[in-house]
Symmetry: C2
Subunit: 569 residues, 2 copies
């Protein structure tokens, strides 16, 4: 069943190809894969990058907006990078471009919709960059690499897998895909091309693995339409539909169902308006303008004539749906009779926020339909276990590398591969930062391990938040801060007045006068340890902080961040 | 089908009964229900309290350990309170006793296991209180109330529903239940008693509703045993089992399966050791001591001879399982071949923490089985839609009041009731704080609305964290704090030296010298607004804070908490 390693019979036997995942290993998002060709083991010749996505902060990353891949490894190799290939237009595959492209400054390639979504994304950050639209029928030659785009079905149109030929062997880059035989846009996964690539011999299949734990095949996008039809027919008031704003096919279905039921469509929320705008101009979304109503014209229609397609399926603060639920939207109020349809699963970590939003909509009178309790209101864009097995069957790759999933899912993927006859050494389960090296002679090994850090975006800052800042945020979040101000005479080095205590997020100061008085005594005692002129202020400061911490913990069982400030006067 | 309102034919027609949920409405936890009897509308005669549980903080309640019901309403009525009845031993039904009982100081009642678990809980807080064990065969007379305990199946033994007779009518308090026909302890839900109560006439059924969105009946606890058997037989190394530490029946099953497969049992983690200890002494858990091994003796056995029953199914920091996964447990390390079984669903909000823990266990070599991907590894203790319908059918109550669920679930419950023939005015959907009043003449209405607040527990503090402190924590969590220290001459009122800027959780100060220098200029400019002697320091302080906030937002797009401190010298 399984091909022998595809040997490099023409090239030199010393050459190697290294796959360096700078994101996307042990992780569903933040996808960035480096394909590095070396003509000799010590000579980096050419680098190709696949995808450039953002990740989302975990709960401990207080205040962080986004996480991007750590490209430290690439910094001294920029002149070897031949380009960035984008597989599709989702944030976790294109979202880091505004931060990383200005550093690398290399050509970017993608299918038509992907390229345009990336360009709009870059424009939002003030970057005017042309993204190259590839020709699906001719492999892209880029350095020593040849890249064929193979169309796959996913939850966004124009998604592709990549068949990458290198001097060391052929690789199949199987990022996000499923086998949807009745896709909304009619464009099925090009199984014939995948099979042909398999026939040519594939050294390694990199495969999406996030849904490996779900048996069977992922259902077609098509089945949702019937559910939507039923919901809209049972809606006496406004029909309010929300999904991920990148889910163009889903939005198309909501549009079709609305028009069929004689409702006008209103798009609400920046990212939906933007994505639908791009997709409409490129004809990836189709409707007649006469059915679209602007937000300020909503009042001209009866509730039963309206269908709102809105942002906020993850209960993002300030999204259209959140504002509608909170009763602060400029044009829309929830009324008894309205139906709200969530056609998206909550992203892990957002479950509570989504449930709170659903509750608020319910209290205000809406009937809410959401995928957790109702089948066929959302289907995943990712293949389930059998989709993944089918991909292995089509590619017949010599080695397998599950990507875009947690370590738990990678492990489940490997179990599936073993059941299909793969040997342990054919399934690669690298840890984050590990580099996989393929030699022309057919060897595969973990070559080295990079130490990757989380590059965090906070406001305008890229990577300026590190672990110290985060740790302080965590402490202040759960315990608050107590600031002690000690005035110190500049010339004599003596404490000139009683220290002052200020706190935030710790306790109601006004109701805790006794505690604060006692704390002051602790501080004064700590200051007395060194009589007379204080020269080693650092030492005393540490003493004050330590003693105050001990005292406050004893009294309150809380450990606020303590900050002693000396003011030289 | 539905009984007419059960009229109070003996008592006076002026009497009323008010149900005041101080927790548990629109909320799964924090259960505390007040039954208040008034012989005349303006005369509170007697109060009975059912349950006294804790709630769990939501994501915005940074640093808060627990939330307890707000008993402000009861404070001036303590001499009317006849007692607290506990339905079962779960935290969300007994956990607030240590905080509330010392205030109310009234008798507490429960079944044997519930009473002992409550006593242990109180002892942990240094309170020596005897909880009265009720007699299941004789209704408890308490003031004008008569309370019959009806045994129900749930995820803890000795759980009860209450049939409460009052001078105004009969009430069925149907807190957490399911109809498990093959419970581990053999004690089925007493459907005969429920039906008899129904026959006597029930004015209102208060019913658990949290699983109303799931069709059918909740499966029996029994089915899990087969799954556990399969897992333990496929485990070449240590078998590690985790569930909620209160889930005594589940722990019994893990014990049985372990003994049957010739493994020694080790209990790890304080709450499991404590709960199993109480249950073992009362014979709610049964095993022979010879199968139990202490943690320090683990090394005497081969991995394949061990079964560890551990705390940490919700990935609580410092729980036994978290410490094992992190490699810092004193006696246990994860090895290839170990199997870890999660027999509990993640509590909403803890999903990510649980997934991270599973990933860590997997990376360390364990195979992890958990209920999200494997059927029959966990069943809920709560009844699904048909269980809830059956309860309505048995009680045939005149009115329905869904409790212990979110508003969304209450609404689904009402839909189910309408489908069963109930009228809109028979299903009560109060908002949090609303008081439901039943009159002897058969009227039901929302009488008034209390303004309930979240009473938050943080360390040793009860209710000393309010919204201001929380808001500061939220700001510091996401944006950090910037402190400006301005030395001011006490006698002249002049600024004596350059202001100093200190920050925590905001930015790396050392790498942001330019920003800090610019910020100082902004501060100095703000101080100059008032030339010479500064008398209205409050005004200047606000100016400094406002200008600095504007400057920092412009430069960084972050809004740290800004605190200007004046030091009088």
């Amino acid at each position: 069943m399984i091909n022998p390693i595809n040997r490099n019979i023409f090239g030199n036997p010393q050459s190697i190809l290294r796959i360096i995942p700078l994101g996307g290993i042990g992780n569903v998002t933040k996808n960035l894969y480096v394909y590095e060709y070396r003509s000799r083991p010590d000579n980096i010749s050419d680098i190709l990058i696949v995808d450039c996505g953002v990740g989302f902060p975990d709960e401990a990353m207080y205040g962080i907006d986004l996480v991007i891949p750590d490209i430290t490894y690439l910094r001294d190799k920029i002149n070897k990078i031949r380009g960035i290939i984008l597989t599709h237009g989702h944030e976790d595959h294109i979202g880091a471009l505004p931060y990383i492209l200005p550093v690398l400054n290399v050509p970017v390639y993608g299918t038509l919709l992907t390229a345009k979504l990336a360009e709009v994304k870059l424009q939002d950050s003030g970057l005017q960059v042309k993204v190259n639209v590839i020709n699906e029928n001719i492999p892209l030659k880029i350095g020593p690499f040849s890249v064929e785009f193979i169309h796959v079905t996913h939850s966004i149109p124009d998604a592709a897998n990549l068949f990458i030929k290198t001097p060391v062997g052929n690789f199949y880059h199987g990022s996000d895909f499923k086998f949807d035989w009745t896709p909304i846009d009619g464009k099925k996964t090009e199984v014939d091309k995948i099979a042909r690539a398999g026939k040519e011999g594939i050294t390694c299949l990199l495969s999406d693995c996030v849904r490996v734990e779900t048996e069977g095949y992922t259902l077609s996008e098509k089945i949702i339409e019937e559910t939507l039809d039923k919901e809209i027919r049972n809606c006496p008031g406004k029909f309010i539909f929300t999904t991920q704003s990148s889910n163009i096919s889903r939005i198309q279905q909501a549009i079709d169902v609305s028009i069929r039921n004689n409702r006008k469509i209103v798009f609400l929320g920046r990212s939906i308006e933007r994505n639908v705008g791009v997709a409409y101009r490129l004809k990836y979304v189709n409707y007649s303008e006469m059915f679209v109503v602007r937000d300020k014209d909503i009042r001209k229609y009866k509730d039963s004539e309206l269908s709102l397609i809105v942002t906020g399926s993850q209960a993002q603060p300030n999204s259209a749906l959140s504002r509608i639920a909170e009763g602060i939207h400029k044009f829309v109020r929830i009324k008894e009779g309205d139906v709200v349809v969530f056609s998206a699963d909550p992203i892990p970590g957002y479950e509570n926020a989504v449930h709170t939003l659903i509750d608020l909509l319910t209290v205000n009178g809406a009937r809410v339909a959401y995928s957790e309790i109702q089948d066929q209101l959302h289907v995943s864009g990712h293949g389930a276990r059998n989709d993944l097995a089918l991909m292995i069957g089509l590619t017949q790759a010599s080695n397998l590398l599950p990507i875009g999933g947690t370590y738990r899912q990678m492990r489940h993927y490997s179990q599936m591969a073993f059941d299909m006859g793969y040997k342990h050494n054919q399934v690669l389960l690298p840890l984050e930062g590990e580099i996989i090296e393929f030699s022309a002679s057919g060897q595969v090994r973990i070559a080295e391990k990079l130490s990757l850090k989380n590059v965090m975006i906070d406001g305008l800052g890229v990577g300026d938040i590190g672990n110290v800042v985060l740790r302080d945020r965590q402490t202040m979040a759960s315990e608050g801060i107590v600031i002690v101000v000690v005035p110190l005479d500049k010339s004599s080095g003596r404490v000139t007045a009683e220290p002052d205590i200020i706190s935030r997020g710790f306790i109601y100061m006004k109701e805790s006068v006794d505690l604060i008085d006692e704390a002051k005594k602790v501080i004064i005692k700590s200051l007395r340890l060194k009589k007379g002129r204080i020269t080693d202020w650092q030492f005393v400061r540490k003493q004050v902080e330590k003693n105050l911490e001990g005292f406050l913990f004893k009294e309150t069982h809380r450990r606020p961040l303590i900050l002693a400030v000396v003011v030289h006067v």
